[in-house]
């Protein structure tokens, strides 16, 4: 049960998490991975991608995909309002560093948590699969879900290498004259 936590860390060391609201619930990501927070711009839809990839945005010349975790968690699509923002997160488990935008209804607070503040995720209950949860923390009597963004995206096929092409794929790539 404790596998999801960083048990080897000293109990007094403090980790900072950025929390945000999404479909009424509060989630948080480790601030080490947060690059910046921007107002949600008009997104460019990318054909052929799963629905929870809402589109792409321009971050100073770089094309960054934006994910709607509400759709991934089986909720209704996040409506874009004036307060909607995109948290630019740097993924750490991929070989090269990649940026991804995470849509949020609003950014809430920066939480300072020690290992003792972080409870393991229950086996069921939250909408998020338990392997995608770093832990749960208390914020004014409500639980904040600490997300492991890399894990959330790991199960999508976003990162599967193209080398694992099936024979049919290979044929498709060959133009038939």
């Amino acid at each position: 049960m404790k596998d999801n936590m960083n048990t080897n860390e000293a109990p007094h060391s403090v980790n900072q998490f950025l929390s945000f609201f999404l479909a009424g619930d509060e989630y948080a990501v480790n601030i080490v991975q947060v690059r910046e927070i921007i107002e949600c711009p008009a997104l460019t839809r990318v054909p052929g991608m799963p629905r929870w990839i809402r589109g792409a945005l321009n971050l100073r010349g770089a094309v960054v995909p934006v994910v709607d975790l509400a759709l991934e968690f089986g909720l209704a699509e996040t409506a874009i309002t004036r307060r909607t923002c995109v948290i630019i997160v740097e993924l750490v488990t991929t070989a090269e560093s990649s940026l991804i935008g995470v849509m949020a209804d609003a950014v809430h607070q920066v939480m300072e948590l020690t290992a003792a503040d972080i409870r393991p995720a229950p086996a069921f209950g939250p909408r998020v699969r338990s392997e995608c949860i770093e832990g749960m923390a208390d914020s004014n009597g409500k639980f904040v879900v600490l997300l492991n963004i890399d894990q959330v995206l790991a199960e999508s096929d976003l990162f599967t290498a193209p080398e694992t092409a099936h024979p049919e794929d290979a044929l498709e790539a060959i133009t038939v004259a």
């Binding site: 054909p47 792409a56 010349g61 990649s98 024979p167 290979a170 790539a173 060959i174 004259a177």
Partner: protein, 543 residues
């Protein structure tokens, strides 16, 4: 002569410069030697070769690479005797000199890492060179060892590019002009001038920025020629190992490609050349028996075609055997009866596929063509193989100019803006206002039936239907097809960027670009769109 003491950063800079120059000088050295091998009577080549060796020696001694300098010195000695006609440029001597080019190249990289001790084989080569006396008997020409690039650590990729000084000067000039123009905008705004006046000044900034951008993009483009040159050596070595006679022809040296594309193409081309020489080209006797000239030809040609770079590798060898491929496919449980001839040939791109009857040093282990496909696909390109039994094989790679400036044509569907490469477009027409709005259909273009697809449906966009629609007619494999959009926004120069790893599975997208308003616009790949559209059409719907 006094000794210079170099600071670390100075030395680092010198080392980088040395590597670039060494690669260049050795490339030239090699090319000249190959020419000399073909035309030993051209004595003047030896002077140039000598100069190349001398330059390298000088550069190496500047950096106190003693072993490299020593080796180059011995090579220089042999070349000196050759140019003074003390000894003859025999094939064996040229082979030995070519081997020393490999050693020098290897040693140059190693010296930088501080590992400059000579290996045993290098020492024996050095001994062979330095012992060479004007009267020494020539040993029989041993076949050259296969290129030893595979062993040893992976070569460091040089992330540097040589840029014409004039181009850099123009960039600097433009940069200065932009600074001045921006200052003007500030002044006008500070002085509270009317918007019309400010807009003029802003337009000037825009114009200059665009010029600068073009210049920067063009600096990234390099001609393919110098990168293809070293294949002369590859072919020579392969031919000598497999005891065949092969000529390499390179066409389209001047075709410009983004530097990163070239870097990614080296391995696939090497693989295809290996296949061509090892499996394609027959032995001289076999060729003569079939009424072909004894020496085979491998041709690499580069050209530009509708916004793409086309690289074609062909040989005049025995061609691919459809039956052999079919047999191997069936042994792996692939039903070849359902496949067209083209599709059967395409099977060679599958991992582990090889129809070579024997495994040789060079190829035939079934690794290779799948790597070629993976490499080309990673550049969003396509590969096409065609083959005539007995007459040869041609492999064509079509690659987008991954990072490049393209002439784009912007179109809109609802809120979304897409860019279509202009060179793929034949014409644009307004869609006739008929009742039914189906995803696909057939247009009458001056009496010719042209199939069309609505981008809105293909991309599953849910924006409301406009009152009027337009069709962009594109050419797809010698036939026309229409892509139906809402609005035509017009042509613009577009900086094409790759779409990035996470979105590369997007369909019908060749790349991305940033619009003037800061939004991302997708650059469409009309070929893929038409192909996708055709895939989804049931065979009965041909109108």
């Amino acid at each position: 002569m006094s000794e210079f003491i170099l600071s670390d950063s100075d030395r680092q800079q010198l080392v980088e410069l040395f590597l670039v120059e060494a690669e260049e000088v050795l490339g030239q050295f090699e090319a000249l030697l190959l020419q000399l091998e073909k035309t030993p009577e051209r004595h003047e080549l030896l002077h140039e070769i000598f100069r190349a060796a001398h330059t390298l020696k000088g550069n190496a001694s500047c950096l106190q690479f003693t072993e490299l300098t020593g080796f180059a010195h011995v090579v220089e000695g042999t070349l000196d005797r050759l140019r003074n006609r003390e000894i003859e440029p025999t094939p064996a001597r040229i082979s030995r000199l070519l081997d020393s080019v490999d050693v020098l190249r290897n040693l140059a990289t190693r010296s930088i890492a501080g590992q400059c001790a000579l290996t045993e084989s290098e020492q024996s080569l050095l001994a062979a060179l330095s012992m060479e006396e004007p009267s020494a008997e020539e040993p029989a020409a041993a076949p050259a060892a296969p290129a030893q690039e595979a062993d040893g650590a992976a070569k460091p990729v040089l992330r540097s590019l040589r840029v014409d000084m004039d181009k850099l000067d123009r960039m600097l000039d433009l940069n200065g002009e932009i600074t001045i123009a921006r200052g003007r905008v500030h002044d006008l705004l500070a002085a509270g001038q009317p918007p019309e006046k400010v807009i003029d000044a802003v337009r000037e900034v825009d114009r200059l920025s665009l010029n600068l951008q073009e210049l920067v993009m063009s600096a990234r483009l390099v001609p393919v020629g110098p990168s293809l040159r070293h294949f002369h050596r590859v072919v020579r070595d392969l031919a000598s190992v497999s005891r065949k006679r092969v000529n390499l022809m390179i066409e389209g040296n001047e075709v410009e490609v983004d530097a990163t594309v070239i870097e990614h193409l080296k391995d696939p081309i090497t693989q295809m050349i290996r296949n061509a020489v090892d499996h394609g080209i027959e032995t001289p006797d076999e060729r003569v028996a079939r009424g072909k000239p004894p020496a085979g030809t491998v041709r690499i040609s580069a050209s530009h075609d509708s916004g793409a770079v086309v690289i074609r590798i062909s040989d005049d060898g025995r061609g691919l055997s459809e039956t052999d491929i079919g047999r191997q496919a069936r042994s792996r449980g692939i039903d070849t009866d359902r496949l067209s001839r083209q599709e059967v040939l395409g099977l060679i791109f599958q991992p582990g596929f090889s129809t070579a009857k024997r495994v040789t040093e060079i190829s035939g282990r079934g690794v290779g063509m799948d790597v070629v496909l993976a490499n080309v696909q990673s550049l969003r390109g396509t590969v096409n193989v065609s083959s005539q039994p007995g007459a040869g094989t041609t492999i064509t790679m079509r690659l987008p100019l991954t990072v490049a400036l393209i002439e784009g044509f912007a179109v809109a569907v609802g809120e979304e803006i897409y860019i279509i490469p202009v060179d793929a477009i034949v014409e644009c027409i307004e869609m006739p206002r008929s009742g039914a709005r189906e995803a696909r259909g057939v247009l009458h273009l001056r009496g010719t039936p042209v199939p069309f697809v609505r981008l809105r449906d293909l991309f599953d966009l849910r924006s409301p239907l406009p009152a009027r629609e337009n069709a962009v007619i594109v050419q797809h494999e010698q036939r026309l097809a229409g892509i139906v959009v809402d609005e035509l926004l017009g042509g613009r120069q577009t900086v094409m960027k790759p779409i990035g790893r996470m979105l590369r599975r997007a369909i019908g997208v060749a790349g991305s670009s940033i619009l003037g308003n800061g939004r991302v616009a997708l650059i469409l790949d009309p070929q893929e769109i038409v192909r996708r559209a055709a895939d989804r059409v049931p065979s009965t719907s041909a109108a």
